[in-house]
Amino acid sequence: MKRRSFISKTAATSTLLGLGGISLGSCASSGKKHITILHTNDVHSHIDPFPSDHSRYANLGGLARRATLVQQIRTENPNTFLFDAGDIFQGTPYFNFYGGELEFKLMSMLKYDAATIGNHDFDNGIDGLFAQVPHARFDLVSANYDFSNTVMDGFVKPYNTYIADGIKIGLYGLGIALDGLVTKKLYKETKHENPYDVALDIERQLKEKEHCDIIICLSHLGYDYDNNPNRFDDVTLAAKTAHTNLIIGGHTHTFLDKPDVRTNKKGMPVLINQVGCYGLNLGRIDFYFDEGAAITADGISISV
């Protein structure tokens, strides 16, 4: 293995050029494959933009505008995927009146590819979630909820794989412990398994059996609980993984200024991104693959 090092830089592109020998313009070169991942989390039934008199988010958000953004990016790069990291439900009267039907129908119209399940997606009970499944033309992925003794059995996959432009993407989901967060009568016999153990198992399958080129985790664990040993979080997960490239987070409504670059068990970078809540932001991560040509850089340059 070649020597790898992290060089954290806030410097301009010229510095980058010096370090890596790769220009910004090279992104567009024809020999490269390009996969775009778009993502949301904790949208909480926010379909309309915030009203103009809202004291914090005036005029921001709105699903029909997000649709425009998604369409633009898909036109620019047809190899685009759209994911959600859970807590689709609960937060506006759309949910109280229609139980999540509209949220799932609209996500289907936006051609979401997959979502994981957040704690609030149990707010009308597991039966309430099940009732909306026919409206979802996207995958539900969760690897550490065991639904086998519930109505959701067979409707949620631990992971799924997607192929675009010859690049294979493995996607798995992780959910938060429900005990103490959701009333038992709502989640019923849903069993929660240790997300770290499950993640390591699934990512290995995705790499070794499924031969995925990109591995993405949709996590509703929460970003960072400051090493609290009783709570699972994305920061701890990132350090334990060996194959996951990107963790799309949720639950803590964390507005990250930029994706957080962490180091995995093998010393390789893994990105964590979470875009706040309520559909105010759309996260975008672009993966570029070089066809054949060796990259001269033997280090990892991070320019923020």
Binding site: R56, N96, D213, I295, I300
Partner: protein
């Protein structure tokens, strides 16, 4: 929360990794960006048209003005009590007590809710049923818990140690600089560990929700069958102008 437009480029170049499986390629560059959804983005018409009938129905039900709020009620304007928390806890006491009294012939002694349960701030201006949905989207009911003095003492300890301004009403609590109580008054009387107290909260918390630990040693629970959101709506209908501030119900001395 920082909501300025975030636009950045993150570049990672990774040296070619020789994999034992040449079917797997590794990404050579990763670029990250966050796109704020702003009014400059045109809405997709077909989506708006699809939402319209749902929206019209909801608006008819929710949008008639019920009261006026004279200043923003927020969750972070005080360290131990906040304007939004005081608003909610006080109205729960006012709205639920007549129901509890009619069923048990007793009065609620105090109210305790959780800071995280207030799901939205209330912006200055007219408020309506929609505002109540924003504050309290959950289908939670007001319940009244009977607690002995020892259990209330534990609850007071929990509040003292909690870093959060959990909403309370009908209590006067003062902590010294090191976090010990120097004053604990409930319903105008000094806290008495031999007395039984009736504490209003919501069913989610009483069932142990959000790991609040308020009610570990509770006794009987009386249901009011009154949804917290409906209590807010009824309170809006009852008053013209809502004036609530941070006050001295729970403070810590320097």
């Amino acid at each position: 929360m920082n909501l300025k437009i975030k636009h950045f480029v993150l570049f990672i170049t990774i040296g070619i990794i020789f994999s034992c499986r040449d079917t797997v390629t590794n990404p050579s560059e990763i670029v990250g960006e966050q796109l704020l959804v702003t009014p400059e983005l045109e809405a997709v018409d077909s989506i708006e048209a699809f939402v319209k009938p749902y929206q019209n129905r909801i608006n008819t039900v929710l949008d008639s003005t019920l009261a006026y709020v004279s200043k923003d009620l927020v969750k972070d304007d005080g360290s131990r009590n906040t304007s939004a928390g005081n608003f909610l806890a006080d109205l729960v006491l006012e709205q639920a007590n007549p129901i509890f009294k009619s069923r048990t012939n007793k009065d609620i002694d105090f109210v305790v809710l959780n800071h995280g349960g207030i799901r939205s701030i209330i912006s200055k201006g007219n408020v309506n049923a929609r505002t109540a949905y924003q504050i309290m989207p959950f289908e939670n009911y007001i319940v009244v818990v009977e607690m002995d003095g020892k259990a209330v003492s534990d609850l007071l300890d929990f509040l003292a140690k909690s870093g959060k301004a959990h909403p309370i009403a009908n209590m006067q609590l003062t902590l010294d600089a090191s976090g010990n109580y120097v004053k604990t008054e409930i319903n105008g009387q000094p806290f008495n560990e031999t007395k039984t107290y009736y504490v209003a909260s919501n069913d989610y918390l009483v069932q142990g929700g959000d790991d609040m630990g308020f009610f570990k040693n509770r006794n009987a629970v009386t249901n009011t069958d009154y949804m917290v959101r409906n209590a807010i709506i009824d309170y809006f209908k009852k008053v013209d102008t809502i004036i609530t501030s941070v006050d001295d119900r729970f403070i810590q001395l320097n």
